[in-house]
């Protein structure tokens, strides 16, 4: 019988999500600074805030979507639970609770990553230094993933890591795709214009998929093909379908190898989502509406997280609020912040 504490399982799950989130965010900020320009040629920082549905939170703290304000909000602001600084601090706090379980290397790297984030001040995030800083954050996140791959004992705790990472990654990809499609799809006149092509290129770069896409499609940059790639490509590590496959496999293994049947509802939920995505095609997605499809995927992912909470983390259904599956449960956060 598994002796894994529910609290540990929940912490592993969220640790994976938090680092995945920090990684995605660093990519998005980086690409936005390097490649994204609005029609007047200046960087459009507002789109990032919209991407994460954080306008209200942002406007509580800032008046305008300036580079400085957005970068501070997402890099340093510890009052913003969605900032990289917060994600890394929460991940480190989870790792601290998990120290009896995880490798010394895994803890040590997150601890020093968090210390580096804590040392950052406003001058360090100025736009000219941004590429270097985002590079450093990505590198730290990838170092983390590498250490996890090399040192994490492959038991049921590992499966929670897999599920957390893939659910978060799928969610991040839906958001990335959604904002570009939703906000930046230019009026029909603009489709295929150099500006439009550069924006879709930037989108691919933030998912580290530009070169993979080019291998498949050596010429051209069509929004439909990019969306197809990010949704359905089973070989691309950040495609939604590939992430769903991985999470479903981990849930199945939990049942098959570890005799854990409590997660049946979560497994059914996620398998159903995966099967429906797998049976879909980009043409019908576009005709139904890409935004609606992405929204539906996000909601289904949230439901899966709820089911996981009831099954494994000791979350009671009546305590689930609207935001519960988006971030770690209150008891966990209270211990961290």
């Amino acid at each position: 019988m598994s002796r894994l504490l529910s609290r540990y399982a929940e912490s592993v799950f969220w640790l994976a999500r938090q680092i995945e989130r920090a990684d995605s965010l660093a990519r998005i900020l980086d690409v936005n600074a390097s490649f994204s320009h609005d029609s007047s040629g200046s960087h459009n920082w507002e789109s990032i805030v919209t991407l994460y549905s954080a306008r209200a939170e942002f406007l509580k703290r800032h008046d305008a979507f300036t580079a400085d304000a957005v970068l501070h909000f997402y890099l340093l602001d510890r009052t913003n639970p969605c900032s990289i600084a917060s994600a890394v601090a929460l991940a480190r706090e989870n790792a601290r609770a998990l120290r009896p379980l995880i490798s010394t290397e895994m803890w040590g790297q997150l601890n020093s990553f968090n210390a580096k984030m804590k040392r950052l001040r406003r001058p360090d995030i100025a736009e000219p230094k941004l590429a270097k800083l985002c590079g450093l954050i990505k590198q730290e996140c990838q170092t983390h993933f590498g250490i996890v791959g090399e040192t994490f004992y492959r038991d049921e705790a590992w499966l929670f890591y897999e599920i957390g990472q893939n659910i978060e990654r799928a969610d991040q990809t839906t958001r990335l795709l959604d904002v570009k499609y939703h906000l930046l799809l230019p009026p029909s006149a603009g489709i295929g214009s150099p500006l439009d092509v550069s924006q879709w290129g930037a989108l691919l770069r933030s998912a580290a998929g530009f070169h993979a896409y080019r291998r498949l499609h050596p010429t051209g940059m069509s929004p439909v093909r990019v969306a197809d790639f990010l949704l359905f490509d089973r070989h691309f590590p950040r495609s939604i379908l590939r992430c769903l496959d991985a999470a479903v496999a981990a849930l199945a293994e939990m049942r098959a190898t570890y005799d854990l049947h409590g997660g049946g509802a979560a497994e059914r939920q996620l398998t159903n989502l995966r099967d429906r995505v797998a049976g879909d095609a980009i043409e019908s997605v576009i005709s139904r509406g890409l935004h609606e499809t992405l929204d539906w995927i996000q909601i289904e992912l949230l439901r899966t997280v709820d089911e996981l909470g009831y099954a494994y983390f000791g979350v009671r259904p009546e305590t689930t609020g609207d935001e519960s599956s988006q971030s770690q449960s209150q008891s966990q956060i209270a211990a961290a912040v």
Partner: protein
């Protein structure tokens, strides 16, 4: 050339007999753990002194800094909380080891085993027939009126009859070269993780210093502890589940809890992970409730069970005491061991040893004046300026007045407290604590040290051959507690003194 010869001669006849970066070292008249005393020079450290002396200061300093960074990165830290921020501090680590001869260790080990045996017999008695009280060896009210005495424990039968499974004994060496026990930590003594981690660090940073020296291993502490805990499990459980119960990540000793859980391969649980059903303890796992049989708890009695003790406790487990009393779960240490931590009970320990074991104490106490006794109080008041006055119930070095270092006002304040509440204090002569060469700002200087060996008791008592050497880093001070600016040293117990 002639001058050089004279200098060498002088050095060789001088005390301490050291060269290189140790040549300017002067223990200042104190007993030195590295060099002994001029009248009784240490022989067991000659090889180490030679190797250390041959190092360059810049190199020693570089390695010391690298070591501190490593501790910080690995999170071998305790956390200090301020208003909004949290600061991770390392227990400052001094790179120059404290070396204990095989001969000295033999005495310390036997002395600690003897004390632990006496403490366990005392607890079994005071929570049982109370013969020692009836025989008038210790004043009744000292035990029964003690705030750490747990009425709930009377007539509770414990596995193996052992109350103190883990004990940390604080020992110092005086100017006469003799060891003295300062106090017994019989509740939840901490610091053993530093013993092991300090050794790991020394092995990594100073392989050249340790090479081929027969230093006894300290790495099997977790195994020994786990074995002793298994011995406490209720009978007829094929695979007892042991857990470590921690107050959580906010506790300043959290690193040690992690360390011990990992070394033993057992879950580190918090109160919220445990639940009681039918007076049995379970932990909440992803597969449902799993039974728990032995708890190494790092939570004070008071917070253990809101039903039995402090009802405000958020850290404990409701109903735990009921399961414990029924023998469904074992706790280490037992509830109620705090009576032996008391500094007034300490004063009686030589008499307690003689009473139960019929032996003379192998390790002496520091001469202690019990202020609850009229003579003791009078003596203390008359000699305040030369005594150390300690509150009986405190730990961590808090509330101590060191007469020879105190100002007029501090002495007056202490006098007033003594008169108002004599039972709360004891006094002791100031021990000329031994020193150990310590790296301070790129110089090697004498600093005062103590020693806390750790003893584990299941069916028998085992003492980890090593211990936590705490060092008072501030010049001249004798308070070694980490909460008061103390650091630590790796402690080497030699296999033999040849």
């Amino acid at each position: 050339m002639i001058e050089h010869d004279i200098a060498t001669k002088r050095a060789s006849s001088a005390f301490p007999p050291a060269s290189g970066i140790l040549s300017a070292y002067d223990p200042g008249g104190f007993w030195c753990e590295m060099f002994g005393a001029a009248t009784d020079p240490a022989m067991h450290t000659r090889e180490i002194v030679e190797r250390l002396g041959a190092m360059r200061m810049a190199e020693l300093d570089r390695r010391a800094r690298a070591g501190e960074r490593e501790f910080l990165n690995l999170g071998i830290t305790f956390t200090v909380y301020s208003d909004k921020d949290e600061i991770d501090r390392i227990l400052p680590f001094d790179v120059i080891p404290r070396v204990i001869s095989a001969r000295d260790w033999k005495q310390i080990e036997a002395g600690v085993i003897q004390r632990v045996a006496a403490l366990n017999l005392l607890l079994g008695d005071v929570y049982g027939p109370q013969k020692i009280l009836a025989d008038g060896i210790i004043p009744k009210e000292l035990i029964l009126g003690n705030s750490n005495f747990r009425q709930e424990m009377c007539e509770v039968k414990l596995p193996l009859g052992v109350y103190v499974n883990i004990c940390g004994t604080d020992i110092v060496r005086g100017g006469d070269g003799q060891f003295y026990v300062l106090e017994d930590n019989a509740r939840t003594p901490s610091g053993v993780s530093y013993v092991v981690e300090n050794r790991h660090l020394t092995r990594r940073s100073f392989p050249d210093l340790m090479q081929n020296l027969r230093v006894r291993d300290v790495s099997n502490y977790g195994e020994k502890l786990f074995q002793a805990l298994l011995e406490l499990a209720p009978a007829n459980i094929p695979e007892p589940q042991v857990v470590l119960l921690s107050p959580g990540t906010y506790n300043s000793a959290y690193f040690e809890h992690i360390f011990l859980a990992r070394e033993m391969g057992v879950p580190l649980v918090e109160g919220r992970d445990l639940v009681l059903e039918n007076d049995r303890v379970f932990m909440k796992t992803i597969a449902g409730l799993a039974p728990v049989h032995v708890i190494y708890r790092r939570i004070d009695d008071n917070f253990l069970d809101p039903d039995a003790f402090n009802p405000q406790s958020m850290l404990g487990v409701r109903g735990l005491m009921r399961a414990y009393k029924k023998g469904n779960v074992a706790l280490a240490n037992a509830v109620g061991t705090g009576v032996c931590d008391d500094k007034a009970v300490y004063a009686y320990l030589p008499r307690i040893i003689r009473y139960y074991l019929g032996e003379d104490p192998i390790l002496s106490n520091v001469d202690t004046h019990i202020c609850r006794e009229a003579d003791g109080l009078q003596y203390t008041l008359d000699n305040l300026a030369s005594l150390v006055v300690k509150p009986v119930g405190e730990s961590g070095g808090y509330g101590i007045t060191i007469g020879p270092h105190a100002s007029r006002a501090q002495l007056d304040d202490c006098r007033a407290k003594l008169i108002a509440d004599p039972e709360a204090y004891i006094s002791q002569p100031m021990v000329a604590l031994s020193v150990s060469p310590t790296l301070c700002n790129r110089r090697i200087e004498p600093r005062h040290v103590d020693l806390r060996p750790f003893a584990i008791t299941g069916k028998s008592t085992w003492v980890l051959p090593g211990g936590l050497t705490r060092v008072a880093l501030k010049k001249g001070t004798i308070v070694v507690n980490s909460s008061q600016g103390g650091g630590s040293k790796d402690t080497w117990v030699l296999e033999d003194d040849a």
